[in-house]
Amino acid sequence: MKLFKFLLVGILFGIVMTKSEAVSWYRIQEMFRFQSFHMYGIIGVAVVLGAMMHYLMKNGKMKNIVGDSIEFKAKPNTYIASLFGGTIFGLGWAMTGACPGPLYTLVGHGYWVILVVIASALLGTFVYGALKSKLPH
């Protein structure tokens, strides 16, 4: 089945999020208090290695699994949305100690109250969708 491989990658992602401790509310607090290198190390390695990966994929003419050349879409130049939306997400990231990936992963840990956080995130998404045309981008 074509989708099954994404289940496996998702399982790997959940394990990585847990073992990296990026799912830890305490680690996120440590990060926003600049009291440990841990989270900066994770993100730093991922960005530097990821940049090398992007470079090699673009210049090495790498093909994807179905043999098409890999294309990277540029992020839209919506700087106001990036800054304002990013700031609002940052408030929520510090409060809940979790970004979207870890939110799902923590459900798997059995912290059921996280389902309420996810439901609230869906409500936030719905309200964004409702107000989208009125917000600056």
């Binding site: 073992k19 799912v23 926003f32 009291q35 059921w112 995130a121």
Partner: protein
């Protein structure tokens, strides 16, 4: 058994960073991209929001791979916390432990007190019924959904994918993430935790 014991240690940050890139590589190789918060848009669309608002009026089946990925990450969290569990809670710095204690948040030092993934005093259904719980869990969740969708991405889409693909809008978004996180942690937490 040796392998399990090895994997059960907390991973060094450099290993974790490499593994995140491996996940991103797999998704790109499979013709997709690394970005989790789009799943919120897809879930709202499945719920019928597309009938009312244009933003959700798209073929969510284009995101079915992401929803499968999300289900996988839930399972992965279950596997890691059951079979690969750390023998000790998350070890954070003494400075953070002291700062959090001043806010009234206890950090587990022994596994019997918790894993150190979430503060159990806050992340429970009793606290959810209090003003403090509503602010942290409900408003916090709302900000995550509203903010990531306005910004067009979260930590995976902007901070990892976007920055590593040298996208300027992603750098602006990450600066926003930190403005929000720092304001919340340093200016608003003392007030919220006194609720």
């Amino acid at each position: 058994m040796r392998v399990i014991e090895f994997l059960s240690q907390p991973w060094h940050w450099s290993i974790s960073g490499v593994m995140i890139v491996f996940v991103m590589f797999l998704l790109i190789y499979f013709g997709k991209k690394f970005g989790v918060s789009s799943s919120f848009q897809a879930l709202c669309s499945i719920g019928g929001a597309g009938k009312r608002f244009e933003y959700f009026n798209y073929d969510w089946k284009n995101h079915s791979w992401l929803l499968v990925f999300v289900v996988g990450s839930i399972i992965g969290g279950g596997i890691a916390s059951t079979f690969l569990a750390n023998p000790a809670p998350v070890q954070i710095s003494q400075a953070t432990i002291s700062d959090l204690a001043a806010l009234g948040v206890q950090t587990p030092t022994n596994i019997s007190e918790g894993t150190g993934y979430v503060p159990l005093d806050i992340f429970n259904f009793d606290t959810l019924m209090s003003l403090k719980g509503i602010v942290i869990l409900v408003l916090g969740g709302f900000f995550i959904g509203f903010g990531t969708r306005w910004a067009g991405g979260c930590t995976s889409g902007h901070a990892i994918s976007g920055l590593s693909n040298l996208q300027l809008p992603s750098l602006v978004a990450v600066i926003g993430f930190f403005i929000g996180g720092l304001v919340m942690t340093h200016l608003l937490f003392p007030f919220i935790f006194s609720l």
